[in-house]
Point group: D2
Chain length 342, copies 4
C-alpha cells in the first residue's frame, strides 16, 4: 500500500544519505561549528541573495517556531497569526509555554489578509485600554499555508507594509517552503521571500531531509544572544554536522528546488486525476497538498491500497481528504491511484 | 590531526548508517509511531529488564534534561543537583527557562553524596521558613558524571534511599551511560540502573548515534501527558524513524555495550600511557574521559598532531586537559599519541 | 462630577478603615499568619458552609486568576474560557506568561454554554491528533460575567456536570461575586457557589475593600504547595493583616452581602431610569453594570456632570455605554442622573 | 509581649491611615492614574533629584524584584547577586519562575565585592564556552543587605563601574532603603542612590506603609512596555490610590526619612544595650536589624516578654538572634529589653 498521508513518510533524499556516509568518520567540532554547516550557510547565503544573512540550523518545525518567536518577542508581547496557523493549533501550546499569546486573525484559505491585519492593529491602538492587553510584537504567516495555499508577491508586500508601519517583524514559516516556491502559481522566488520578511526558515524535514530547518535572518539581524537562546530552548544539536551536511547537500546544484519541483509535478498530476473524475476539492491548492472531497464508495475503492488522511468528515457521508506528495513520490503511485479511483 | 577533544566528533556507527540507508524508502508514520521506534522500545525493555517501561526518544541531552525535569516538577519545585551538574552549568539556563531553580549541593569528583543530600533536606525542612523557598522536587545525578567518575551500587542505593524517604524521584542523566556501564570500575548493569531510579536516559549522541537519547520510565511511570509535553518543548521529532532506527540498531546484538566497551578499552590504554610517563591526573576517571595534567612542553609536543581540550589552566603553566575516547576511536590514534608524548 | 465609570473609584467601606485604624499598632506576624486572617477564614468558612475550606487572601484579580490557574494546571494544559472572559482579553497575557493557553469558546451575553463546552470536549478527543494540541485542564467562568450577566443554578450545574465528566476542575472568578449574588435574578447563594465549583474567589477590590480577593477551595482541596506557589507568583502580601482585617470586616454581620445589595438597588434604579426614558440596553444586565445605548445628544447632556464609560461606538453615532454602581454609590447621584438624562 | 522579630509587625504610620480616611470617598481612576499617584511621583522625583524619573508603584518586595528583573532581562540572561541575596534564597523561585537564573557570587557580610564581580565577568567571557551558559544580564544588590549592612559610596561606585564596563544595568533592592540611608554609617543620600544605579526601589512595606514599593528608573529609562509588563505579572493594583496615597504621605514633609531615622535611633540604643552587657554580635550592623549572639540563659530571661527571631542555632547552645526595629518601635520597649537582659 502506498501512502499519501503526509510529506514525511520516507527517510531522506539518497544524496543526503550518501553525503552522511561519505563524511561519517571525518572529525568535526560540535554545536554547528563544523565545516559542513559553514559550507551550507555559504550556499544558502548565495541562494537567498543575502550575503550578510545570519543562519541557524534547528531540528524541527515546532521547535523552530517557538525558538524564533520567543527570540524576537519581549515578555508581554504576542504574535499575530491566522486562526489556522500551525502555531495557533497544532503545536501543543509551545508558544504559550514560552510565555507568549498567539493573537489570532481570521483566515482565508489559510491566509492572512493585509487589510484585516491593519484593521486589527488600528483598532487595538484606538482602544485606550490597550496597555492592559497583550502587545502585538510580530506577525507570523506560513508559506505555503496549512491549507496548501500560497501568498502572491502583492499579498506579501501588503502584509509587509502593515508590519513596517507598526514596527512589527514579519516571520515566514517555511516548513514546506520548497513546495510553495515550486508551485506554478508562485510569483515569488527564494530571494524574494528573503527580501520580503525579517526572518524565515527553509524547511528540510518535509523537503528531503531526515530533519532540519534553516532559519535565515536575511539582513544579519539575528538577536544578539540567539545561539545561547537556541541552547536554552533545547534546540542546539550537539552533532551539528547532521544538519550541516543535509543543507549543504540540499543547496548543492539546486537539489532543494529540483526535488520540490518533482513533488509539485506529482501533485498537479494528482489534481488532474481527481478533476478529470469530477471530484471536487475543498480548496484549490497549488502546492503539494491536495484536498479532494471523496464519497464513501470512492474511499472504499482505495482502502488497503492507497492511504490518505481524513481531514474532515462531512454530514453527507463524504469526507475532505488530504493527499500529500513529496520529493519521494513515485509516478507509479500516482498511476495506481488513477486506476483505482472511480 | 586526530582529535580527542570530545566524544561526538564523528558521525554515527556504520551499522546505523546502513540501517538508515536500507530502510530509507519504507513509508512510516511520523512522531514516533513508526515500526522502528516500536522495535527499539521492545529491545530496550528487554535490555533494561523492564517490560512495562515507558520509553520516549528525544533528540539531545539538554533538551532531554529540561523536558524530563519540567515534566516531573510542579511549578514551585526545583531540582537538586551537584554544583558541577550539567544542568547547573552548561545548559544555558534551560531548566530555569522552564521555571525551575537548580538547587545545588557540593560535588565530590562530580558526584553527589547521599549523606549531604539527606543533611540538606533535613536542614531545609527544619527551618520553619521553608514554605518561602523553592521546594525540592526531584534529584538529578549523571552517570558517568561530568568528570568521568561513576557511582557504585552502594552510592546509588544510598541516594535512592534518601529520595524515597523524602518522596523525591531520582533522575539519572545517562548522556554517556554506556561508557559508565562498560567501565571496569562499574558494579552496576543497565538493569541495575533501571531498578535504582525513577527515570533515566540512555545517551545515543555520544555513544554511536547521530543524535538521540532514549528516556526510560522503568515502571511505566511516565507523567500522563508526557507525549504532549515533549511536543510543547519542541522536542518531538517529525521523522521519529531517525531515532527509532538508531536505537533499534544500537540495541540489536548488544551493539550499544560493545561499542561502549571499545571506547573504554581505548580510554584505559590512554590512561596507561599517561601514567607510564609519570603524568599526573586531575581526577582518577574510570571512563572514557581522561584528565591528564600536562606541562606546556608536553602540550607543545602534541600541537598540530593530536587535539585535546584545555579544561583548566593552572598557575604553574601546566593545564588540566581532557582526552575523550568514543566508539570511533582507533587504536592507531592511541599509538600516535604514545609516540608523541614525552 | 459623579463618576459611574467603574466600581472601584472610591477607597474602602468606612468600617474597613475603622478596623484598620483600631488595630493598627497591634503586632502581628506576617504573610497571612496573623489573627485577622485566621478570623476572616473562620467567618468565610461559616458563610460558605465549607468547614474544611482552604482559604488564601490575594491582592488583586489578575493576580488571583493567574495564580489559581497556574496552580491547578499541569505544564501542557490550558484553561477553557469564553472569548470575552477577563483572562482571555484584559489581563495582558498573564495566563500565557505562566505558560498556559486560554482555549476559547463562544460567549452568549458573556456566558459559557454547557452544551458547547461538551461539544468542544467531545470533538477535541474525537480527533486522533489531540495529543499534538494543548490539553484542556480546567474551566474558567466568571460570576457575574464581564457583561454583568449571571448564570442560573441550572446553568452552573450543567457546566459542572460536563467538568466532572471530563475530570476538569471548575473555577469561578468572583471579582464581583457579591453583585451577582445580590441580584434579584440570582437563584444561587454563596453556599451554592461553593458547592458548585472546585475553586472560586470572593472579590474584595470591587466590593468594599481597598484590595483583596479571597480564594476558596471549598473541600480543602488546595494544591499541596499553594502557599509557596503564591509567593513564587509575587502574590504573597507581607502584611497579610491588610487583607485579613478587610475580609474579617466584610464577613462580620453580613456586611459583604449588605453592601452588595445596596449596589444592586442603585443599579436597578439606574436601569429603571434608562428604561423609562425609552433608552435601549446593549445587554439586559441584572447586576451592578448597566449598558444603555445612548445617543450623542444624551451623552452631551451628561457631559461634565456625570462620567461613564464608552464601551463601544456604534456606526450610527450612538454608543454602548457602561454605568457601574457599587457599595459607594449614593442615591443622590442616581437622582442627578435622572434629572439630566432626556 | 513586645516583638522585635521583624519590621512589619504593625500596620501603617498613622499619617497614612489619616490620609486614606480623609480621601476615602474621593472618586479616582484606577490602575495608578489617580491624582495621588501623580502627586507621589512628583514628590519622589523631587526627593531623588530626578525630574525625568519613571516611577511605578508595586505592592510587595518579591513581586517588585521579579517584575523589575524580568522586565530588564532578555530570555537567556540571568541576574548576578550574592548567595545571600533575597532573590537567591527567600523568594520561592520567583526569578526562575520568570525564566531567569540567579547567578551567585560570594557575600561579605551580605555585600557584593566589586573586584569579585569583575573577576567573575572576566572569567566568564575568557572561557570560550560562555555562549553555552546563562548570559549575565544585570546586577542585583540590596541596600541595606539582608544582614543589615550597607554599601559605602565608594563600594557602590566600584560595582557601578564594573556594571558600566560590561553593559549591565545595576538594580538596588531598597526594601529597607530608609533604614540604610538613615544609618549613621551611611555616606550616601537618596539622591546619590538614584545617581548610582539604573533602577531601584523605595521600600514602603517595611518603612511605614501597609504595602507598597516605589520603583524608580532615575533617567526615565523604564522599558517601553513596563506598564503592561506589570499587569502581566499580576502586579498592577486596581485601586492604585492605595499606593499613591501612602507614598504621597511618606514623601510629604520628609516623613519617610524622619521615621527611618527614628528606627535607626532605636536600633542604636538596642545595639548599645547589648554591647554594654558584653553580648557579642554576629555582624556589626549599622541599620535597623541587629544580630546579637545570646546564651540560652539570656534567651530564657526574655521568654514570654520580648519576642525576637532565632537566626541560627550555634553548636555551643547559643543562638544568633535578630532584633529588628522600625518606624513603630517605642522607646519603652527598648527599656523593657534593657531591664530584662542580663
Amino acid at each position: 500500500m502506498y501512502s499519501f498521508t503526509c510529506d514525511y513518510t520516507e527517510g531522506a533524499h539518497p544524496e543526503i544519505l550518501r553525503a552522511l556516509t561519505e563524511t561519517n568518520m571525518q572529525q568535526e567540532p560540535g554545536y554547528g561549528e563544523d565545516s559542513f554547516c559553514a559550507s551550507a550557510k555559504k550556499r544558502i547565503r548565495e541562494a537567498t541573495g543575502c550575503p550578510d544573512a545570519d543562519i541557524f540550523f534547528l531540528v524541527g518545525g515546532t521547535q523552530t517556531n517557538s525558538t524564533v518567536i520567543d527570540g524576537l518577542l519581549e515578555g508581554c508581547q504576542g504574535v499575530l497569526a491566522v486562526q489556522t496557523g500551525h502555531i495557533a493549533v497544532h503545536e501543543a501550546g509551545a508558544i504559550e509555554f514560552c510565555g507568549h499569546k498567539v493573537l489570532t486573525l481570521p483566515q482565508h484559505q489559510g491566509k492572512m489578509d493585509a487589510g484585516e491585519l491593519k484593521a486589527w492593529l488600528d483598532s487595538f491602538y484606538a482602544d485606550g485600554t490597550y496597555p492592559h492587553m497583550v502587545q502585538p510584537g510580530m506577525v507570523y504567516i506560513s508559506f505555503p499555508t496549512e491549507y496548501g495555499t500560497i501568498y502572491s508577491r502583492a499579498e506579501l508586500e501588503g502584509i509587509g507594509d502593515v508590519c513596517k508601519q507598526y514596527g512589527l517583524p514579519l516571520f515566514i514559516d517555511g516548513a514546506r517552503l520548497g513546495y510553495g516556491l515550486a508551485s506554478p502559481a508562485a510569483d515569488v522566488t527564494l530571494q524574494d521571500i528573503a527580501g520580503l520578511c525579517d526572518v524565515f526558515y527553509i524547511g528540510g524535514t518535509k523537503v528531503g531531509a531526515l530533519c532540519g530547518e534553516a532559519v535565515v535572518f536575511p539582513k544579519g539581524n539575528a538577536p544578539k544572544h540567539f545561539f545561547t537562546h537556541i541552547k536554552m530552548h533545547g534546540a542546539l544539536l550537539a552533532k551539528g554536522r547532521l544538519l550541516g551536511i543535509q543543507f549543504d547537500t540540499l543547496f548543492t546544484n539546486g537539489l532543494y528546488m529540483e526535488i520540490s519541483a518533482h513533488a509539485i509535478r506529482m501533485a498537479m498530476k494528482l489534481k488532474t486525476i481527481f478533476a478529470e473524475k469530477g471530484i471536487p476539492f475543498y480548496i484549490d491548492s497549488p502546492t503539494n497538498q491536495q484536498f479532494p472531497i471523496l464519497t464513501s464508495s470512492q474511499m472504499a475503492e482505495l482502502e488497503g491500497k492507497i492511504a490518505f488522511e481524513i481531514w474532515e468528515r462531512l454530514p453527507d457521508g463524504r469526507a475532505v481528504t488530504r493527499f500529500a506528495t513529496s520529493w519521494a513520490t513515485k509516478e507509479e503511485s500516482i498511476k495506481t491511484l488513477q486506476q483505482l479511483i472511480g
